[in-house]
């Protein structure tokens, strides 16, 4: 996985009825945009280290133009 600050990571739920989880990347600690990342979890102020697995996908942040 490659990501930059501002990107979001979506983690799919593992159980029936379990919602997907979402977090925002605050820091990139790996080389060339690789993990681990410091993330802030959706709808909370809590931050943690994150080591993405096969259940995670990155949504790249796009700056608005103009």
């Amino acid at each position: 996985m490659q990501a930059t600050v501002g990107d979001r990571i979506v983690i799919r739920g593992h159980r029936v009825g379990e919602p997907d989880r979402d977090c925002k990347i605050l820091e990139v600690h790996g080389q060339d945009g690789g993990p681990p990342y410091v993330v802030q979890w959706e709808d909370s102020e809590h931050e943690s280290l994150f080591f993405p697995g096969s259940d995670a996908s990155v949504v790249h942040y796009e700056k608005s133009s103009g």
Binding site: E42, H46, L49
Partner: protein
């Protein structure tokens, strides 16, 4: 199969000087039952939801107690490139439910008994299907060719 290929879930980490309350909140929002305790780049322990209950809540620790006061250490680890069956041996010999996966000594994920059981159950179901089908629907013999 390599161990890293058997890891189904992303890993979540926390610094050792964070509080057990923060650890609990992170487990809740991240929907995980354990956190890798990482000091800089070094894996120094694992804290589980069970650790928070038994060593934190039951021991009447302050909600501000540090994570490293309740974590399990040393950590049982396996290299990401090692054969997955090596993890089976670690689960048996160490009587743990989770093993930390490392690459070049750094934490990259967690492999759990639950994940392995789910994969094994799927494989067993695939093997059982033709057997149950034979019991339920009978054996289909190829027609015997006519002779003469």
């Amino acid at each position: 199969m390599r161990t890293i290929d058997g890891v189904r879930r992303s890993g979540v980490g926390i610094a050792p000087d964070r509080t057990i309350t923060e650890a609990a909140k992170i487990m809740e929002v991240a929907a995980v039952g354990s956190l890798a305790v990482v000091d800089g780049e070094e894996l120094v322990g694992i804290v589980t939801d069970r650790d928070l209950v038994r060593r934190g809540l039951a021991a009447r620790l302050s909600p501000e107690a540090r994570v490293d006061s309740v974590m399990s250490t040393p950590v049982v680890t396996i290299d990401a490139a090692a054969d997955l069956h090596g993890a089976f041996t670690l689960f048996r010999t160490h009587a743990v439910r989770r093993v930390a996966v490392v690459r070049d000594g750094r934490f990259v994920g967690m492999i759990t008994i639950d994940d392995l059981l789910i994969d094994l159950a799927a494989d067993l179901a695939d093997l059982a299907r033709p057997v149950t089908a034979e019991v339920l629907f009978g054996h289909h013999d190829a027609p015997v060719p006519a002779v003469g």
